[in-house]
């Protein structure tokens, strides 16, 4: 499933790149910063960030072939750990690194977009509205049948993410209020894998980054608010988080330019194109 998600991510990456290249070729801006640069940037961590990272990397590497940018997933925990230990230059996280982590590794945080985390079910499932209470009871294993929620008489299959996931962290804190997640829940390893799992399971329920939502899964209206970018923006949908790119110490040289690019109009446009809320 890992490889499926990577593939679909890169496919969307390609597609969006084509859409975008037309407009960017004319108006050159921040990208010119990279003209005389040379070197390598290694990035890993949060799986929600990957589409934006890929698009940015493509643009920069197309512009200057002496620059190499490698992007890996692994989850927010991995990103923070690897950048802290100096294995990568930029470690992405879908949650704010803890004070401990910031102190221990001397991390500098750069939040360049806002993302929501939304509950998803299979499009065939008639249950598309839940209250926070119902959601907590589903994830803690108290409600085990869709019938109790007005659906068909079928057991609920709960999907969750592994413990290093920033998406899980935010969902667990803000949607479940740090409530129990049943030990019977299936565990998947990325936002992409979560989408595949729920898209294939008519009686499944899970949660993904709002930026990753598409027609393969159906968003669930939580306490009357639909998980859309607009609702996250106007504050009516509460389960939101920052997307962070972290460096060990103050970023320098090429890495600094990459971070600057994420905050430039072009970078912010990439974030918006991928379904996130730009910070500027």
């Amino acid at each position: 499933m890992l490889s499926i998600s990577k593939r679909s991510v890169s496919l969307t990456g390609f597609f969006i790149l084509f859409l975008f290249m037309g407009s960017s070729a004319v108006q050159a801006g921040t990208i010119d910063l990279f003209t005389s640069e040379k070197g390598e940037i290694k990035i890993s961590g949060g799986t929600a960030h990957i589409p934006v990272m890929k698009d940015a990397a493509k643009l920069i590497m197309e512009h200057n072939r002496d620059i190499r940018i490698s992007i890996a997933g692994g989850g927010s925990g991995v990103g923070i750990k690897q950048v802290g230990e100096g294995l990568v230059d930029i470690g992405n996280s879908g949650r704010k690194p803890t004070d401990d982590e910031i102190q221990k590794y001397g991390l500098k945080l750069f939040q360049w977009a806002i993302d929501g985390v939304g509950v998803v079910v299979n499009p065939k499932n008639p249950v598309k509205k839940l209250s926070t209470l119902q959601l907590t009871e589903i994830f803690s294993g108290k409600i085990v049948n869709w019938k109790a929620l007005g659906g068909s008489d079928k057991p609920i299959n709960v999907y969750t993410r592994d413990n290093s996931s920033g998406t899980r962290e935010v969902f667990w804190e803000k949607a479940l209020d740090k409530g129990e997640i049943t030990d019977k829940a299936n565990v998947v390893v990325s936002n992409g894998a979560m989408k595949t799992a729920v898209a294939n399971d008519s009686y499944g329920i899970g949660y993904v980054s709002v930026g990753h939502m598409d027609k393969s899964t159906a968003p669930v209206i939580l306490d009357g608010a639909e998980p859309t970018i607009d609702n996250v923006k106007n504050g009516s949908y509460k389960i939101a988080r920052g997307l962070f790119s972290n460096t060990k110490g103050e970023p320098k040289g090429l890495v600094k330019k990459f971070i600057d690019f994420l905050f430039s109009p072009e970078g912010q446009e990439l974030a918006a194109k991928n379904g996130f809320i730009p910070i500027k």
Binding site: M1, S3, I4, G74, G75, G77, V78, K81, E85, E101, K154, P155, N157, Y159, D162, N163, S164, E180, T182, D183, K184, A185, N186, V187, V188, V189, T196, A197, N200, D201, Y203, G204
Partner: protein, 284 residues
């Protein structure tokens, strides 16, 4: 130095290097899980559940998950492999037997992730509809797919054993007018019991060490499985899922406990194969 000495030194070096690697890995795991042995935490881990939010880091559910997936996959793979190798080496006409053997040889080369892929898109939906309960990611799905992964090797080992019976035995059975099936049941099978057992045990090792099939198909739930339709997590999948945890955390340390358990199992299995091999030699 002549050619022979150079070759000998080269081979000796390679042997020492690979042998010391195995030992070094063991030492490395023991060193990193050392703090777990103090106070006997290691043995507590083997029988407690996993719930990091409540300070529980036991690997008992994963132990149960691994054992049930492996046992069940052998239940599917063993009869299948025995039948297939009987067909290849005894029953089928030469041309068809050769075709079957080539196909099986090709199957051994397919990467596990392909089996996992097929499992996610074909087997999991089928199991889900068939039993109308759960997500279809469960012990049954994982064990069925895992049996597909381990069968080819098992079939090849069995076939080799069946084909290695002395020609005089085979000729004697033919001379007495035995049918191929009779010859298989009364001559080849009893003669090959050690080879069969060795093949079976090697497959246990392979099944236990596989990560991807369980990770993709078993569902990875941390509850102790109560039925074959329950989602479960294997030790290998557990390591893959937890490796992202903070290096200093207890979570991270406990995956060395999981690694040690796997190492011990594998060592035990290899020992068993050796003993059986020696017994087989004596009996002949």
């Amino acid at each position: 130095m002549n050619k022979t000495t150079i070759a000998e030194t080269g081979f000796l070096g390679a042997a020492v290097l690979s042998a010391s690697l195995a030992v070094l890995i063991l030492i490395f795991m023991l060193a990193l899980s050392f703090s777990l042995f103090k106070g006997g935490l290691f043995f507590t881990l083997l029988r407690t559940p996993w719930n990091p939010d409540h300070g529980l880091f036991g690997i008992y559910p994963m132990l149960a998950g691994t054992l049930s997936i492996v046992f069940l996959s052998l239940c599917w793979a063993f009869p299948l492999s025995l039948g297939a190798s009987a067909l290849i080496s005894v029953i089928a006409p030469a041309g068809f037997a050769k075709f079957c053997k080539k196909t099986v040889q090709m199957l051994t080369g397919i990467p596990t992730v392909i089996y996992g892929f097929v499992g996610v898109f074909l087997l999991v939906p089928f199991i889900r509809e068939m039993f109308a309960s759960g997500s279809g990611m469960n012990i049954l799905s994982a064990s069925l797919m895992l049996s597909m992964v381990i069968s080819p090797t098992m079939i090849l080992i069995f076939t080799d054993t069946f084909e290695s019976i002395p020609a005089s035995y085979s000729a004697a059975a033919d001379a007495l007018g035995a049918s191929p099936v009779q010859k298989f049941l009364y001559v080849i099978l009893p003669y090959s019991r050690h080879g069969i057992f060795a093949g079976l045990i090697l497959s246990v090792g392979r099944a236990m060490g596989d990560t991807l099939i369980a990770l993709m198909l078993a569902g990875n739930a941390v509850a102790v499985p109560g039925s074959i339709l329950d989602s479960a997590r294997s030790l290998t999948a557990h390591i893959a899922l937890v490796i992202a945890a903070d290096f200093d955390s207890i979570e991270f340390k406990t995956i060395f406990a999981a690694g040690l358990v796997l190492y011990a199992f594998t060592a035990f299995i290899i020992l068993l194969v050796r003993i059986i091999g020696r017994m087989g030699m004596k009996n002949r």
